[in-house]
């Protein structure tokens, strides 16, 4: 296999600027890196470093002002809202700091949500979601509502949900930010297991302990890559 085949995505000279109160803010000033399939990357940086902007662009929630973001052959900068929605649903698995589960749905239904937007419904979907719930250790909580779960459990539901579409990579945004150290470890263990199974993981974080568990750390400062090191 050539390097090209193994690339999950590639960003080239990525820039993103906003107009705020008549001023142009350059949040990203030219960021380039490749991510290979199976990598476990932590993206770090102080607030204002462009972390969140990079997350939004990588998550296809936002488009770069210039530069290229190649995800499985598509340049995200040229896609419209519909295409971006499809990519989010098919190629990216989101894990958020505040879990972002839907309160009116139970565990199984929450895991199923991304499948519904791909038109995958029926008993096969049910089996897959149940399997994923078991994989994150919630096989006995299938019909619980998010409010009936602890933070760690909720985050594991969110991780199961991020896996359901078999995405190109998991994009975790401060995924352990709301958790205590014990559950943080549990969740990080889960990420590690997933990575060992071949999942590509991009973890946005500002905690060194979390970054230490990853295999590669990209540090941002003032919209540029400060360092890119492998653990």
């Amino acid at each position: 296999m050539s390097v090209e085949d193994q690339i999950a995505f590639r960003v080239e000279d990525l820039c993103r600027s906003y107009f705020l109160k008549g001023e142009t803010v350059h949040a990203l000033k030219g960021v380039s890196f490749d991510v290979l399939a199976g990598e476990y990357i932590a993206i770090m940086g102080p607030s204002g470093s462009g972390k969140s902007t990079l997350l939004n662009v990588l998550g296809c929630l936002d488009r770069p002002t210039s530069g290229r973001y190649i995800l499985a052959g598509d340049d995200v900068a040229t896609l419209n809202d519909y295409q971006l929605s499809r990519i989010r649903g098919q190629r990216i698995g989101f894990v958020f700091q505040s879990y972002n589960l839907l309160q009116q749905l139970n565990v199984l239904e929450n895991i199923k949500v991304p499948l519904q937007y791909q038109g995958l419904v029926g008993s096969e979907a049910d089996v897959l979601c149940q399997h994923l719930a078991e994989r994150v250790g919630l096989g006995n909580r299938l019909y619980h509502r998010p409010t009936e779960l602890s933070g760690g459990q909720q985050q594991r539901v969110a991780i199961a949900r991020s896996l359901v579409n078999d995405p190109y990579f998991i994009l975790a945004d401060e995924a352990t930010g709301n958790l205590d150290s014990k559950t943080t470890d549990e969740v990080l263990d889960l990420f590690e297991t997933l990575n060992n199974d071949g999942k590509t993981i991009i973890m946005i974080t500002h905690e060194d302990e979390v970054a230490a568990r990853s295999k590669r750390v990209i540090r941002l400062r003032d919209g540029l890559i400060e360092s890119d090191t492998r653990n």
């Binding site: 929630l61 929605s85 989010r88």
Partner: protein, 440 residues
């Protein structure tokens, strides 16, 4: 595809159930609007159905020519005896000159006292011909109806109430009674027949149960055209007389298409021989058309009123959905991140709105369909406590559900859902996913 739609509907119901009271109140507006359409239209249809029944009883192929007391001129007022109305000559002229009529039935009626011993009945004495029975849908209770052989004979057929007053216990057939100053033999008795209500200004109401029918020829020979009445009090008696030959001629036209034209011809014919307007030509078919027009107008009015109430309900729905969208901004952001396209979000909220209005609409339809029993119960309850409080039209009113009103109200309630759901749904779909995700 269908399964997915079904899932979205289930999701919509679930989301609505989160705020049960709010959803219920929002749907209430639609419920009331839908039920109002069906109720109002059913009431209107009930009223107009009765009117139509009565007009139909008069016969769609018939033309009714009635004697009418003319407006009094100055000299007339001085006359003790008033001569007016349809003439036997009119009858002859109609029969002889108008070819396309299948039959013409003359009739003369007047108030008259019937007596048997000390029992009296202030009846309406009707001089008629054999066809009168069929024309007015009368049925015999016992005995027989007048036949052509009875013309000129002193025989009488009593209506049900008349017979009851004179013969409370006995069988009247074969007995003799006093009609004015002469003996008549009772040969038959008719069944009870419900009175017909007045139709507009053209026809008075007619109670058939206090009638006494004798052959027209007998009436003319024995009673005559001139009838004296005692009026007023004061000193001595005052008498006025009415000299009327015929009260009514019912003309049946062969072909229903020719009714209007024939009525015109009759009117022209009569005008030639009558100085005063002492007759009226009533065309039931025309009345029917008028009633139909009135009904349509009435229905349009009702639908407009109900439409306004549905509109108000729809605004309530929109208000609720806008609040819902704001409250669920974060959910919208999450769904967008998980791959929902704008169309997905629009259909989610649109379906939710339609589920809301459709459930209100369906319940409204169910309540609307039960208008018959509910109205009956209400009516009975009111009548028990104060029997006089309801006007007769309401007492006899039976709501008739119009199928189109059910379809229409349901369609409108769905339409309201779509119409007032589009804006909130679009608002939801065009939220910036990043902003929405950050929303607390």
């Amino acid at each position: 595809m269908i399964f997915q739609f079904f899932q979205t509907v289930v999701l919509g119901i679930k989301s609505l159930m989160v705020q049960k009271l709010r959803a219920g109140l929002a749907a209430l507006g639609i419920f009331i609007g839908t039920a109002t359409v069906i109720w109002l239209v059913a009431m209107g249809e009930g009223v107009s159905f009765r009117a139509q029944q009565q007009i139909l009883e008069l016969g769609a192929r018939n033309i009714i020519v009635r004697t009418k007391q003319p407006n009094e001129g100055e000299q007339d007022a001085a006359n003790r005896v008033k001569t007016y109305g349809l003439l036997r000559a009119d009858y002859r002229r109609i029969v002889e000159n108008i070819p396309n009529i299948s039959r013409a039935i003359p009739m003369r009626e007047l108030r008259f006292e019937l007596r048997l011993g000390d029992r009296t009945a202030d009846a309406k004495l009707v001089g008629c011909v054999e066809d009168y029975l069929a024309l007015n849908r009368l049925e015999m209770a016992r005995g027989r109806w007048l036949s052509s052989r009875d013309r000129g004979k002193k025989v009488v057929v009593l209506a049900s109430d008349t017979a009851r007053r004179l013969f409370p216990f006995e069988n009247p057939i074969g007995r003799t009674i006093w009609v004015g100053a002469e003996f008549y033999t009772v040969i038959g008795q008719t069944r009870d027949r419900t009175a017909s209500a007045a139709i507009g200004g053209s026809l008075d109401s007619r109670d058939y149960n206090l009638d006494a029918y004798i052959p027209l020829k007998t009436l003319r020979q024995r009673v005559g055209d001139l009838v004296m009445k005692r009026v007023g009090g004061g000193q001595g008696f005052n008498f006025i007389g009415e000299d009327v030959e015929l009260s009514q001629i019912t003309v049946e036209v062969e072909n229903i298409e020719e009714v209007d034209e024939t009525a015109q011809i009759i009117e022209t014919l009569l005008k030639k021989y009558h100085e005063k307007e002492d007759y009226a030509v009533v065309v039931p078919r025309e009345l029917l058309r008028q009633a139909e027009r009135t009904r349509t107008m009435f229905n349009v009015l009702l639908v407009v009123i109900a439409g306004i109430s549905l509109l108000v309900g729809g605004i309530g729905i929109m208000n609720i959905m806008l609040a819902t969208v704001t409250e669920r901004t974060r959910e919208i952001g999450i769904r967008r991140a998980l791959g929902a396209t704008r169309t997905d979000i629009i259909s989610q909220f649109l379906i939710e709105t339609v589920v809301l209005t459709a459930s209100g609409g369906l319940l409204g339809v169910l309540f609307g369909l039960s208008v018959g029993p509910i109205f009956e119960t209400l009516k009975r309850a009111v009548l028990t406590f104060s029997p006089e409080s309801l006007p007769p039209i309401v007492q006899t009113l039976e709501p008739r559900i119009a199928p189109w009103s059910v379809v229409l109200s349901l369609a409108i309630s769905l339409g309201v859902g779509v119409l007032f759901g589009v804006y909130p749904a679009r608002k939801a779909a065009f939220l910036d996913p990043i902003e929405a995700l950050r929303h607390e």
